[in-house]
């Protein structure tokens, strides 16, 4: 009996060591296939079996499969639940200890017939997860040291199954973690690509007659908001938009919308026809549930004319040069992607010098704080009143800060996008500007400004510029003597033209070009009158004269080719 005890002890300790070995091997494996390969080797040693296989339960398709039966052809064995001994173990989730396979009705001898293997004893245990879900079956065949597996082997295979379960769960978690990391890498890449599709915060330089700044902050990694702008000669294209919904689907439509707009810009003079072209393509390319609100326009940098089209977007604000703030009057057309043949109206207004347009998406007005209050159009207007005359970047920053202070720690629900475009003549370069009192005796000071402007050349053009400037200025003083405030004069060179801009900030509409009486210079002396000669000379000597009037601000822009 002593011998038997020793043998039993030896066997127990060998089994324990083998189990420990298996446990170490399992804990170091992350790859599921490698893990199962290690297991089948070690498990056979533990229970003293000829071979061990592991069946992995495919929960989606509802059957077991194994590729881990060394010595057997690499074809995978698939078992339906309830079929064969392993299938029965999987179905009942109970251990099976079969002393003679051919005596057991559950045994399927086809495998032996096909491979020439002779199955005698079978020991199989279910592998279950910590939550009791079936993960697979571990099955050992043919006890090597005895005709059949005993109770000790049963305990061992249950222990093995539990180790395998832990390792499989860990491997699956690792895989899903890696997959989610891969997904988040892909999203980060998508976010980079998406942000790179947008043109950056500004293109305005000191020598551009406008100041522009835009910002975008997606709520998720990728967003559905877009903005764009492009300068071509004296025309500034701009666009802001918001795709319905959020996430990757919206991001793709955003990319499509931005690209469609940009691709069509060179072919359209008219913002409404441009919008119709984009709408038609969007209707073709997107499903019926997706739509895009957008506001696009062209700003003529020579005279401030703004031609725009609104496709269901929030109305922008106009920040006037005098510090007042208004919502832009605009008829909202239908959102893009809804009706392919929708006729969008073209709308037009004139920005006076110093006026700015503030565009935004509803992520700004619908930013929500912890108390579920919306930031609202009114709050945007309040902030804009505080910073109406500041640089475009300061305007956008001020609204951003106000939104942040309002929502505090509440999560951002929607993309937040803003764009501010101010129509102005920037200082520096071949530019001169000054403000002058509404008096004829300001003329010598105005001529000093002209001296400064022509200091580096252009003398041949100078006479015409001096004369036109004097005539328009004296005209403004004579016909609007009671106007308040000063008159601004801007001189600039653009595209080989000298551009003279004279702005009266407090005047009724009076277009000297169309409203001044015509002069017939071929009349005999007796019929000649002094009046009207000034405007006549301006028309003769300048290449282009334009008048705009908005909100009591009258602007005359004169152009003369530089010689």
């Amino acid at each position: 009996m002593a011998t038997t005890t020793t043998t039993a002890n030896d066997r127990t300790s060998r089994a324990l060591f083998a189990l420990l070995d298996l446990s170490k091997a399992l804990s170091s494996q992350i790859d599921l296939d490698a893990l199962l390969n290690v297991t089948v080797e070690k498990a056979s040693a533990v229970v003293e079996a000829e071979r061990t296989s592991i069946y992995v339960f495919d929960a989606v398709r509802g059957f077991l499969r194994t590729s881990h039966a060394p010595g057997i052809a690499p074809t995978e064995i698939e078992l339906a639940l309830g079929s064969g001994v392993a299938g029965d173990v999987a179905r009942t989730m109970r251990i099976a200890n079969v002393p003679d396979a051919y005596d057991d009705p559950r045994f399927d001898p086809q495998f032996d017939r096909r491979t020439g293997y002779k199955t005698r004893s079978i020991l199989a245990a279910p592998i279950t997860s910590s939550t009791g879900q079936l993960l697979g079956v571990v099955q050992s065949l043919n006890k090597t040291t005895a005709p059949a597996f005993d109770l000790a082997d049963e305990a061992l295979i249950v222990a093995i199954a539990s180790h395998i379960a832990t390792a499989m769960e860990r491997a699956r978690l690792t895989v899903s973690h890696l997959e989610s990391e891969r997904l988040s890498e892909a999203l980060k890449l998508a976010s980079d690509i998406q942000m790179r599709m947008l043109p950056g915060a500004t293109i305005a330089h000191d020598d551009e007659p406008f100041d522009l700044y835009a910002s975008i902050r997606p709520a998720k990694m990728v967003g559905g908001d877009l903005y764009d702008f492009e300068l071509a000669k004296n025309r500034l294209y701009f666009c802001i938009g918001d795709v319905s919904g959020k996430g990757i689907g919206s991001a793709l439509i955003m990319a499509l919308t931005k690209t469609l707009f940009r691709a069509n810009v060179p072919y359209y003079e008219d913002a409404a026809r441009l919008t119709e072209a984009v709408n038609l393509r969007l209707c073709e390319e997107t499903g019926p549930t997706m739509f895009v609100t957008a506001f696009c326009g062209f700003l003529d940098l020579d005279d401030g004319t703004l031609r725009f089209c609104n496709a269901g977007h929030d109305r922008p604000f106009i920040l006037h040069a005098d510090g007042t703030v208004d919502l832009l009057e605009s008829k909202p057309g239908l959102a893009l992607g809804v009706l392919p043949k929708f006729k969008y109206p073209l709308q037009q207004m004139t920005l006076a010098r110093g006026d700015a347009l503030f565009l935004y998406t509803d992520g700004v007005t619908e930013a929500t704080n912890a108390a579920e209050e919306l930031f609202s159009v009114e709050r945007v207007r309040d902030v804009l009143r505080q910073c109406a005359r500041e640089d475009a970047s300061n305007v956008v920053d001020a609204v951003t800060r106000a939104v942040d202070q309002f929502v505090k720690n509440a999560p951002q629900a929607d993309d937040i996008t803003m764009m501010c475009i101010r129509y102005q003549i920037a200082e520096g370069g071949a530019r001169s500007a000054g403000v002058f009192p509404r008096r004829i005796d300001a003329l010598p000071d105005i001529m000093k400004l002209v001296d400064e402007f022509f200091a580096t050349g252009g003398q041949k053009t100078r006479y015409a510029v001096e004369l036109a400037l004097e005539e328009i200025f004296t005209n403004m003083v004579k016909y609007n003597a009671t106007g308040k405030g000063d008159i601004r004069v801007d001189l600039a060179i653009r595209d080989q033209d000298v551009v003279v801009t004279i702005t009266d900030f407090d005047t009724p509409r009076f277009d000297p070009v169309s409203e001044a009486p015509a002069v017939d210079v071929n009349r005999p002396l007796g019929e000649r009158r002094e009046g009207g000669l000034g405007i006549h000379l301006v028309k003769q000597m300048m290449d282009r004269i334009e008048y705009s009037h908005q909100n009591r601000t009258g602007t005359i822009t004169l152009r003369k080719r530089l010689n």
């Binding site: 004829i440 005796d441 003329l443 010598p444 001529m447 006479y463 015409a464 001096e466 004369l467 004097e470 005539e471 004296t474 017939d520 210079v521 071929n522 009349r523 005999p524 002396l525 007796g526 000649r528 002094e530 000669l533 000034g534 006549h536 000379l537 003769q540 000597m541």
Partner: protein
């Protein structure tokens, strides 16, 4: 600034004949009663305000059968006079 020197049947102009200086010149020109030569040699600039003064003076003198003769007119000023049709109502050399 506009410099106006009145000589025997001649007015010599120098500088800028613009809206800021026109009223000063108007007094001089409306006081003329004889055929007068106006010397533009040192005049740099004239605008419609200056032209208005010349026109008023020419009308005055014309009533008496007299007139202004503009001499030493060149460059841009000649263009301005032409655009104004003054080459049809003044003798310009």
């Amino acid at each position: 600034m506009l410099e106006i020197r009145v000589e025997d049947q001649a007015v010599v102009l120098a500088g800028r004949f613009d809206a800021a200086e026109a009223e000063k010149a108007r007094k001089v020109f409306l006081g003329l009663t004889e055929n007068t030569v106006v010397d533009f040699a040192r005049l740099d600039y004239i605008s419609s305000a200056g032209l208005g003064v010349l026109l008023a003076a020419q009308k005055n003198l014309s009533d008496r059968g007299k007139g202004l003769r503009l001499i030493n007119v060149s460059g841009h000023i000649r263009d301005v006079l032409h655009f104004s049709g003054f080459d049809q109502i003044f003798e310009i050399t």
